[in-house]
Structure formats: structure tokens, C-alpha cells
Symmetry: C2
Subunit: 438 residues, 2 copies
């Protein structure tokens, strides 16, 4: 295929007419396709229906230490859930607090507590003039939203093949005491699918932040969410690495079963050093008498142990893999060689990240929407919704059925072509008669 940039203006104008005709055809089909969020599909939800059967009115809802899971108490979670989730998070059960159904809620609470009460005895952030966080970009919009809500300034750090630009991270945190944290999705990152290299994790664990209350917010959302049995990314376990590095308190690690059991009804957890857990538990005992222990027990009885959970994840992979492969196949078939976009090929997680030519992402997502395909908002992967080069689009293949997904990706590719052609023509001074719509 010939790169668009090498085509003559006449060729591009002819191509544009063809593409517009194809687009009109899609518009006439009254499509309603949604690829905006990383939601598991109905097939995936069905995998966990057995959870509804593991507890019945005949069940003994007592856990191993004799606690009646139905009653009050159990502030930090039941032992067997700590063991299961500990194995999932690769940390000891003692380093875990089990929460309710949402790790986002745990992260929100962690920031909120730091605002009102500070971290391990340091000044509450609400008493400081300025609090900043480093945000590897592109990244997860809900992390950035928490920052905006609390008025925390975000500093972009570019993501590379090994994770965030670690030279830049080291330099910034060493210089600026107002930098209190960094958001990391270290494995099968949202949205690039990148996993941090061993060198990156080691250097993160050895950061020397100017702020003594600096923490790495390690949102390991896709720790066991592989697509393949034989090709899996491996991530160094950060809690142990921080300990080895003499920085045991440097990290909060977050995870949940949201994309393992049911997204709305899983269990979430934080893992951290004993010092951090003590600090967190001080708050927790005012906040609640305990989270839902019956649901913790339900998860333990359903999965049995980490082996059962890993087996279960294979079933998710069997559903997700063809979807990821379809996205990549269609992008390759439609766009390879045109030099108007690039995309990632993750080995796990929930997203493929697409980069268009500069200044095209918003227009592509807008054009998709006008033909009935909702993508994640362009810019969403950047703090304040501002993608400085307007290139990044997050593709979420999980939710639509495969046939819809294929249709969606064909339409998406068409929109990429159409916007790219227009952009090139505009850049050549041929844009006056073109509108976004056409």
C-alpha cells in the first residue's frame, strides 16, 4: 500500500470521494456500536454465574478463624480472602486489606485520606499550597479524574516501551517536594498494553523523592489478565522490590476481581507495607465496621485458590483473544503501509492504543460517532482531557460481540483514512472546500 503522504493531491481527492461514499453507506445503516469502556462482555459475565450457587441457605458462612461472615466485624477482611487475593497480588496475606467492590473507591479513599490526614503523620495535603502527581501518558482517565476532583496538579510523563520515562520520573521527584505520587498501571497498561520492564520497576523502587510522603500508586488492574498461555508479560513484584531497595513504604498496590468475577460485585484490595497498612487502618476503623464478608467468602468458595482463578482467567482469555486479534487484523488489513496510524499489540489487559497522525484523533472519534460508533472520547487518556498532539485513541475490544466489533473496526479504519486524507489535503492548502463531516 502506498503511504498517503506520497500520493498526489489529485489521487487523494479521488480517494476522498470513494471514502465519503463508503462512509455514507455506513451512516445509512443506523449502527449503534459502543467501544467506549473496558467492560467485560455478557459471555464473560456468564463465566462467573457459578458464584451465585456456591453459597446457599444450607451453607455454613463461618470462615476459618470462626468469624460468622454474616455479622458485623472483620475490618480488614477474612483470612481466606486475604490468602486468595494475596496470591493474586503476589504478596503475603498480612500485607493486604480487603475492601468492597471497587478498587477505584480504594484509590479515591487513599487520596482523600491523604488530603485530610496526610500520609503516615506528614502534613495533610489540604494544608499545602500545591500538590502534584506524575501521570504517565497516555493513561487511565479515572485516575486523572480523581486528581482533578481534589485539585491536584498533573504532570505528564511520556510512556515508552519500558513504561514511563524513568529518567524524567527520577529527576522530577528528586527535585520537587510537592510531587506526592505517580499513577502506574504497570502491567498491560491502560491504554497502551505496555508492561513495565524489570529495569523500570527496579528504578521506581529506588526512587529518592524529595517528599517523604511520596507514594507510587500501583494500580495492577490486569495482573493476571493474559490473552495467551505461552506469551505472557512478567512484572517484578513491586512491594518486595521496594523492601529490597530499602524503601518499604514507597508503594500502595491496588487490585480487584472486577474483571475476574463480576465488575460490579467483585472484591477490591490494597497491599502495602505494615507501616502503611497501620496508617490506613487508623482511618478504616472510623469509616466502617467492615466490608462485605459474605461476598469475600463467595469468591473464596468459587475460586478455591489461585490455581482456580488462573484457570478461570483462561476462559476470559478465550473470549477476549479473538476480539483483540480481530482488531489487529482489521487495522493491519486496512491501514498497514498507509503511514496514517500506529497501534499496540498487547499480550493482555483490556485495551489497544491507537495513534493517528497529529491533530486527527478528535476528528476521527467525532466521525465514528456520527456513523453510530461510540469510541472513548479523544483526549480522555490525558490529564484534563488534553492530548497535546491530538493523536491517541483508546480501543476497547471487550464488550461488543465479535461481529459488531469487526464492523466497528472497519468503520473506525475508514474514519481514520477519511480524516487523514482531509488533514493532508488541508496541510497542502486544499482544505477550504472540506468540512469535518464530509
Amino acid at each position: 500500500m502506498q503511504p498517503y503522504l506520497e500520493m498526489s493531491t489529485e489521487e487523494l481527492q479521488a480517494l476522498r470521494k470513494q471514502l465519503i461514499a463508503q462512509y455514507r453507506e455506513y451512516q445509512g445503516r443506523d449502527l449503534r456500536l459502543d467501544m467506549s469502556r473496558g467492560k467485560p462482555s455478557v459471555d464473560q459475565l456468564d463465566l462467573s454465574m457459578g458464584m451465585m450457587d456456591v453459597l446457599s441457605s444450607d451453607s455454613d458462612l463461618t470462615c476459618e478463624d470462626g468469624t460468622d461472615c454474616r455479622n458485623y466485624g472483620g475490618l480488614t477482611g477474612i483470612g481466606e480472602a486475604k490468602e486468595l487475593i494475596g496470591d493474586m497480588m503476589e504478596v503475603a496475606p498480612d500485607n493486604i486489606i480487603i475492601y468492597g467492590n471497587s478498587s477505584l473507591n480504594v484509590m479515591f479513599d487513599t487520596v482523600s485520606r491523604s488530603m485530610t490526614h496526610g500520609v503516615m503523620g506528614f502534613t495533610p495535603w489540604c494544608k499545602l499550597d500545591k500538590v502534584k502527581f506524575l501521570c504517565p501518558v497516555p493513561g487511565y482517565d479515572r485516575h486523572f479524574a480523581i486528581m482533578e476532583y481534589f485539585g491536584i496538579e498533573m504532570i505528564n510523563v511520556p510512556m515508552g516501551a519500558d513504561g514511563p520515562d524513568i529518567d524524567m520520573v527520577e529527576k522530577l521527584v528528586a527535585e520537587d517536594e510537592s510531587i506526592k505520587g505517580i499513577w502506574c498501571v504497570p502491567k498491560y497498561s491502560n491504554p497502551t498494553g505496555t508492561s513495565y520492564s524489570d529495569a523500570t520497576v527496579r528504578r521506581l523502587a529506588r526512587l529518592k523523592p524529595a517528599a517523604p510522603d511520596f507514594r507510587i500508586y500501583w494500580d495492577n488492574a490486569y495482573g493476571i489478565h493474559h490473552l495467551y498461555d505461552d506469551e505472557q508479560d512478567h512484572l517484578i513484584e513491586i512491594l518486595a522490590e521496594c523492601k529490597r531497595a530499602g524503601n518499604p513504604d514507597l508503594v500502595y498496590k491496588f487490585s480487584s476481581t472486577s474483571k475476574i468475577s463480576f465488575p460490579g460485585s467483585g472484591i477490591a484490595a490494597i497491599a502495602a507495607s505494615q507501616n502503611n497498612l497501620e496508617d490506613i487502618t487508623k482511618q478504616l476503623r472510623f469509616q466502617t465496621i467492615g466490608h462485605d464478608k459474605v461476598n469475600q467468602l463467595r469468591h473464596v468458595r468459587f475460586f478455591g485458590n489461585i490455581h482456580g482463578m488462573v484457570e478461570h482467567m483462561r476462559k476470559h482469555a478465550d473470549i477476549l483473544r479473538p476480539k483483540f486479534e480481530a482488531v489487529e487484523e482489521i487495522l493491519a488489513r486496512e491501514l498497514d503501509g498507509l503511514e496514517i496510524g500506529s497501534w499496540t499489540s498487547p499480550k493482555g489487559g483490556y485495551f489497544i492504543s491507537f495513534d493517528s497522525m497529529e491533530g486527527c484523533a478528535k476528528a476521527i472519534v467525532g466521525l465514528c460517532k456520527k456513523a453510530g460508533l461510540v469510541m472513548t472520547k479523544a483526549g480522555a487518556t490525558y490529564p484534563y482531557g488534553r492530548d497535546p498532539r491530538d493523536t491517541n485513541i483508546r480501543i476497547a475490544p471487550s464488550y461488543p460481540p465479535l461481529s459488531d466489533l469487526k464492523l466497528a473496526m472497519e468503520l473506525f479504519s475508514l474514519c481514520v483514512k477519511l480524516v487523514s486524507v482531509r488533514k493532508i489535503l488541508e496541510d497542502r492548502g486544499e482544505g477550504q472546500q472540506l468540512s469535518v463531516q464530509s
Copy 2:
């Protein structure tokens, strides 16, 4: 029975010897009785075991508006849960947000949000020099604990037969802009069992606080928790009353199913005006993608509707009523006429409140503990754990089996007698040879 105060010193000293002998006997029995918290008993938990069966792997977990309860979303709760909990809270479904398993957590979050972001656009409390709350006393220790955690100053307001001293409340809130709230357990109050009179509720709804961001924290924890079918307290619905009074935004109403279904695994809710709910939802969308909808659906399918819930509460009452009656019978049998204590006779809720002679509560609870009976800590029903007259003891009859409860109340009565005798002797200058233990 002769009042102790009318007995001669010699009579009291003889009595004291008898009582000590009885107490030694209890001490020799190696008892382990716990009446410290308002926990439902195992029998009560068993009432809700059917909840484990209403959803199975064959169930359709779609709710009425088509939402798949298993997936992400549903920020403010599913419609049918809002209807059920709305009926329980006597408000329209539109005035409700359903949360996770803990209304304490909802209250904590409400205070925390007010600290960091303020109430409906007013200055965040963390930016103010001083924030105060009114605390009707005796009251609920976990409310007071939230205040202490956030450094909010508590002002005691005495509880009477109609609720808090409303003259004092009106005066204080009108005068002092730093008073931002009042904690109310308006029905079958913790610990007195008092329900607020119509006049009190009407005057609360018509408060004219100096602070525009003042809110009534209406923790209606025992709204349908009656002990009797024929004798029930009735409480004016505060949200509607505030609306009628032209103060629609004055109140946050909290409730949960913790003492209806399972304490650890119920659903909690806040009810408030549309203005307040909008303000709350602004936070909520940063905090979570949604609470556990499967558990919401489980509650709806189990109870069916408010009628089913009311029927279910009758079964709780059948278990609780004999316990409350046993406590009152034993107290009456042992203490009537001695003029060394008084107690409440609630028609619902979870507690009986006992008032000893001045300066005796701590010693009574301490003596109980030394014989193997754990009561709620004396002072716990007051802010900062300081009961200024040292008289109030919260009795929680729900958890122990009836036979244990009777034994516990006999031991408790004995400790009341023993401490009272000692106190009278001390007051008469006969205390030098007495120790707390004897």
C-alpha cells in the same frame, strides 16, 4: 424494697458483705459474656439465609430497566432497590442513592466530602478554623468517633423524653456559624430508645442555622425495628417536613438493611433533596463506577417489597422482644425501689440505656468485666468518651442467647448494687477500707 440511701451504715456494710460473697461466686464461674455491641444474634442472622438462594446460576440478573447487574455502572443504585429502600425510608425512589454495605461509611464519606469540598458550593470545612457539631447525649459512639477523626468539635445537647433539648439546639445553631451539623438517631435512639416527638421533628425542620451549610445528620438506623405489633413509635418523615418548612436541603437521611438482612452484607442508602443528591453525585462519580448491584438485586428478590420487609422484621422482633423483656424484668426485680439506677423501656431499636448513681458507671462496667461480662465501655455514649456525671451505661441485649443474657443481667444488677453501696459508704466517709475490687 428500701432505698439504699435510707439504710444505715451498719445495714449497708452487712449488705456489702453479702453482695461481695455473691460476686465472688460469679467470679468463680469463669463467665465469658459479651453485651458490648448491638449485634444481631445468630438466630436473627438465620432469618435471612434465604437470601443465599434467591439468586442462582439460572437467574436472570437483569434489572427492570435492562441493566445487567453483573457489569459496571448504575452509579446511584438500581431502580427496584431505590423503590424498596425508598419505602423503607419513607421517601420517593428519586430522593435516594444506594451505597455499599455500610451506612457508617456513607456518613463518614459525607463528612469527608464536606471537609475537602464543602457542602453545595460553600467553603470546604478543612479551610475553616473551627467546625462544630451538636451531639445529643447519650448518643452513638461511632458518630462521635467520626467527629474526633476529622477534628470537629462536639457540643453536648441533653436528650430528653422528646429528643434533644430543642430550645438549646435552636439557640446554638442560630448563634454560631461554625456549627455545621447535628447527629440524630431519631427513632428508638441509640442508646436511650427514645423517639423524637412530632414537635421536636417539626422544630428541627424549621431550624434557622447561621451556617448555610448546616445539615441534620438523620441516622434513622431503627426506622422499622419495632419490638411490638401494637405499640410502635411513630416518627414524622423529616425530608417531607423540611420541604414543607421551606428548608428542603436541611437534612441528610441515612439508613441501611444492616439489622434487617445481614449486618456485614446489607445495602445502605442516603436520602436527601435533589440539590443535595446532585452535590453528592458529583463526588460519587469520581469515587466509584457503582456499588454492588447484584447484592441490591438479591435484597429486592428476597424481600419482594416493603410488606415482605415488614413481615421479616416481625421475625426479628420475636427474637428480640423476649430479650428486652428479660433485661427489664431482671432490672425491675433486682433494682426497683433501691433508687440506685434507672433505665429505659424502648419499644424498638437495639438498646436499653441505664443510668446509675453519679460517679458509678465506670466502676460498674469495670466490675462486670472482672467477672467475665463485657459491657459497652462507660463513657462511650458521650463525645470524647467523657460522661460528665459518669452515670450512663448502654445495655445491648441482642447478641447473647436468652439464658446468657439473664445471667449477664443478674451479674450486672449485682455490680450496680455493689458499686452503689460502696459509693454511699464512701460518701459517708466510710470508704477508706474499701477497694474497687471488693
